[in-house]
């Protein structure tokens, strides 16, 4: 799946400056960076390109996988593949943060960010947040608008719980994407390869297309470290008629594994900044 190759726009809006000598808090940095993310979102999509171009493509991706059920002549497979893909599309979009993280390097702002007094990791946590609402929205349209046409129906309670589960899953998978982005910052030309290979691997092992139990033990263990495995379990439980209580445990695991990935991403960005300061490679091309 190709990357959206839009140059990063300049940040809009004013950012309050910290008083001299005081390091800005991570929260304030995330908030400032998220304004850049919002400006990016407005540049990348217009209402028309999002709804006709992007959403249309995503809905067809979900349908493409669902109709494998027609080939298999298996209604259960159709539903399974549909639900898996409908949640997966949120992750696909969240993984665009691997590429958008590197935009700071291509626009020449990375050196300034590294030399700024605040920590580097909150900048990257905030500057690619735009993909989460877009991803959750496309996933929501697939699950709750397209789903009923394929016979996948929801009660109001299940739909609300599923929507929240997709939101948490997308947020937690953002941690996974940022961890990869921290590595890709050292070789930005690999951003699209890493992003696409990684989300296809996620699709393969987390139960999107075949149950996790299909895989050898070590792959299953790897899948358990990915929030998608747990989030998708929760959505499937809700779709199968389980009450909101059915998602408690999957949500907890999605949250815990996501927190672990965010910690890893923060470490990765910090190490990248320190290494760059040490050897002066922050702004050098590959």
């Amino acid at each position: 799946m190709p990357e959206l190759t839009t140059p990063a726009p300049e940040a809009t809006g004013s950012v309050r400056r910290p008083s001299p000598g005081r390091r800005p808090s991570p929260g304030r940095i995330v908030a400032a960076a998220s304004r850049v993310a919002l400006a990016d979102l407005r540049t990348v999509y217009t209402p028309l390109t999002w709804s006709v171009g992007w959403l249309g493509r995503i809905v067809t991706q979900v349908v493409f996988f669902a109709i494998i059920g027609l080939l298999l002549d298996d209604r259960e497979a159709l539903v399974r593949l549909f639900v898996g893909q409908a949640v997966m599309v949120a992750v696909v979009e969240v993984f665009m943060s691997v590429a958008s993280t590197t935009w700071e390097r291509s626009t020449g702002t990375l050196a300034l960010l590294v030399s700024a007094p605040g920590p580097l990791w909150p900048v990257f946590v905030g500057r690619s947040l735009q993909w989460i609402p877009s991803g959750v929205a496309t996933s929501g349209v697939a699950l709750f608008v397209v789903g009923p046409f394929l016979g996948v129906t929801w009660t109001v309670g299940a739909a609300v719980a599923a929507g929240l589960t997709v939101l948490l899953t997308a947020c937690a998978m953002y941690g996974v994407a940022l961890s990869l982005a921290a590595v890709v910052l050292r070789g930005p030309r690999w951003r699209n390869i890493v992003s696409n290979v990684a989300h296809t691997l996620v699709m393969l092992v987390t139960g999107v297309t075949v149950p996790v139990a299909t895989w050898p033990g070590w792959v299953q263990a790897l899948a358990q470290t990915l929030p998608m495995t747990h989030g998708l379990d929760g959505v499937r439980a809700l779709q199968a008629g389980g009450g909101p209580g059915a998602v408690g445990e999957p949500l907890l695991w999605a949250f815990l594994t996501g927190a672990g990935w965010f910690a890893l991403a923060a470490l990765g960005f910090t190490l990248f900044g320190e290494a760059g300061r040490r050897d002066g490679t922050i702004d050098l091309d590959e």
């Binding site: 799946m1 190709p2 959206l4 217009t46 390109t49 006709v52 171009g53 992007w54 249309g56 493509r57 067809t60 991706q61 349908v63 493409f64 109709i67 494998i68 027609l70 080939l71 298999l72 298996d74 497979a77 593949l81 030309r189 690999w190 699209n192 390869i193 696409n196 290979v197 296809t200 691997l201 699709m203 393969l204 297309t209 075949v210 149950p211 299909t214």
Partner: protein, 258 residues
């Protein structure tokens, strides 16, 4: 400079440009994984007989991705890096050079067929047989040529309508459904099947699947004619659009403006 020599130059130039730029090969990185996705779905469903479908689809997806999406950007990239003016001013025919470059991308994308076949073999323990190898190679060649023509169309569209690039991401899955790359269009509702028959890929996909199967390939001539006809339409449209595109950028003086 002869047309053939210009085409060959285009091929060489493109291969040189691709070297060292991983993005050009994105589809070749993902094709083995996509093969694993499809084949494991079929194995899990106890339908090992559909392995050929799971092997063919990622290869066709790679061919489509690299041809229409990547090659379709060629003129736009020339414009961005400032080489378009020099290429148009040169005595060699620009269309032949562009054709050669697109052909290089399409040829490289065919590597995905070998990748998908190897992954299918690794996952199932036995290679997918090609029951009608000559039909397979003939259809594959015609499909690659048809792709080249339509990639030329995309190259012009991206220049004529800059907003088209915004919709570039949308050129994938809708065409994978309409092109029947994994699920034959005959299994889809009639209102989807009819427009899909205007997409040359739907004829190619069906023919390639039949070439892998043991049974006879029914109606080969007419189906090949459909691939050739729809592919030729791409060349006709590309030729017309290229002339119009170049005329427009010359008239408006926007040749070098990306």
């Amino acid at each position: 400079m002869s047309v053939v020599r210009t085409v060959a130059t285009g091929v060489v130039v493109q291969l040189r440009q691709m070297r060292g730029t991983p993005d050009w090969f994105l589809a070749l990185f993902t094709a083995p994984l996509t093969t694993a996705v499809f084949v494991t779905i079929f194995l899990h469903a106890g339908r090992g007989d559909l392995t050929a479908y799971g092997v063919l689809a990622p290869a066709l997806i790679a061919l489509w991705q690299m041809s229409l999406q990547t090659a379709g950007e060629l003129i736009a990239k020339d414009r961005e890096n400032g080489s378009l003016e020099a290429l148009l001013a040169a005595p060699a025919p620009f269309a032949a050079l562009l054709g050669g470059r697109v052909l290089a991308v399409v040829a490289v994308s065919l590597v995905a067929f070998a990748e998908a076949w190897a992954v299918g073999w690794a996952l199932t323990g036995s290679p997918v047989d090609v029951a009608h190898p000559w039909v397979f190679l003939l259809v594959l060649g015609l499909t690659a040529l048809a792709m080249t023509g339509w990639a030329g169309v995309m190259a012009c569209v991206f220049v004529l309508a800059r907003s088209a690039r915004t919709f570039q991401n949308s050129l994938s899955y809708p065409f994978y459904v309409l092109g029947g790359v994994l699920v034959p269009v005959s299994l889809l509702p009639t209102w989807v099947e009819w427009p899909s028959r205007l997409v040359f890929l739907s004829w190619s996909s069906d023919l390639l699947r039949d070439a892998l199967a043991a049974g006879p390939v029914v109606g080969l001539g007419a189906r090949l004619a459909a691939v050739v006809g729809l592919g030729a339409a791409g060349y006709v449209v590309a030729h017309g659009l290229l002339g119009r595109t170049l005329q427009r950028v010359r008239r408006t003086g926007s040749l070098a403006h990306a």
